[in-house]
């Protein structure tokens, strides 16, 4: 049975010209870069370093596109992880998407809402807009029969 856990992640969005994002040197602090659109990137980080990541991205992008928006949108996302040997199978009850491999990222329809899915060692991390936090939990428990592990 797959295990479902709420995760604590931080997210920074950068909306900028495609060329600027192409040229942007990714920030440090172990942030994962998700290129969600030609003119948009999300940086997924640990909550402790989100301010540093946002500052670094803002500093770097300003030189490339002075109109760019850089914003800590952590509150806009609810993150859940599906872990265990059955994680991929559980995920197939939520989405037609291929579960992304480790370090890979895919965005699309998960439980009928727009989601970002991150492949991580031993688990899948699913980000959905925060107002769908409960929806995803309910679908994962009910449809994917995941076992919710509360801290």
């Amino acid at each position: 049975m797959a295990e479902l856990r709420a995760c604590s992640l931080a997210v920074v969005v950068c909306a900028a010209d495609a060329d600027a994002l192409d040229a942007l040197v990714a920030p440090g602090y172990g942030a994962r870069v998700l290129r969600t659109a030609a003119d948009e990137a999300l940086f997924v980080t640990a909550p402790e370093v989100v301010a540093d990541v946002a500052r670094e991205v803002a500093d770097r992008i300003a030189a490339l596109d002075d109109d760019a928006i850089v914003l800590d949108v952590t509150d806009g996302w609810a993150a859940w992880s599906l872990a265990g040997d059955d994680a991929e199978r559980a995920f197939s009850y939520l989405s037609h998407l291929e579960a992304p491999a480790n370090r890979a990222f895919v965005q699309g329809d998960v439980a009928h809402v727009g989601a970002k899915v991150l492949g991580e060692p031993g688990c899948l991390t699913i980000l959905v807009p925060a107002y769908w936090r409960e929806h995803l939990r309910e679908r994962a428990v009910h449809d994917a029969r995941a076992h919710e592990v509360r801290p």
Binding site: R35, T36, A37, A38, D39, E40, H96, V106, Q107, G108, D109, V113, G114, A115
Partner: protein, 77 residues
């Protein structure tokens, strides 16, 4: 499911991830009479037409794609 739309960011996705924006048309018209035709009259071709699709559940960006309305498949180009 299964009419697949190619999104330049996300790849090939079922149309159910998108909202349909209709036939591609001019953004504006020179005068109100021409505007009436632009807004209300559709070509509704049996064949290939250019269409707008918004990838609502993915990147949330628009793409313009050509679809053969008879075969209901997207064509290259």
């Amino acid at each position: 499911m299964s009419l697949l739309v190619v999104c330049p960011t996300c790849g090939e996705r079922p149309f159910s991830e998108f909202s349909f924006g209709g036939e591609l048309r001019e953004v504006s018209s020179p005068d109100p009479a021409a505007d009436f035709a632009r807004v209300y009259l559709r070509d509704n071709v049996a064949g290939v037409q250019d269409e707008r699709w918004f990838h609502l559940l993915g990147c949330r960006r628009w793409v313009t794609r050509s679809r053969d309305t008879v075969a209901n498949r997207f064509v290259e180009g």
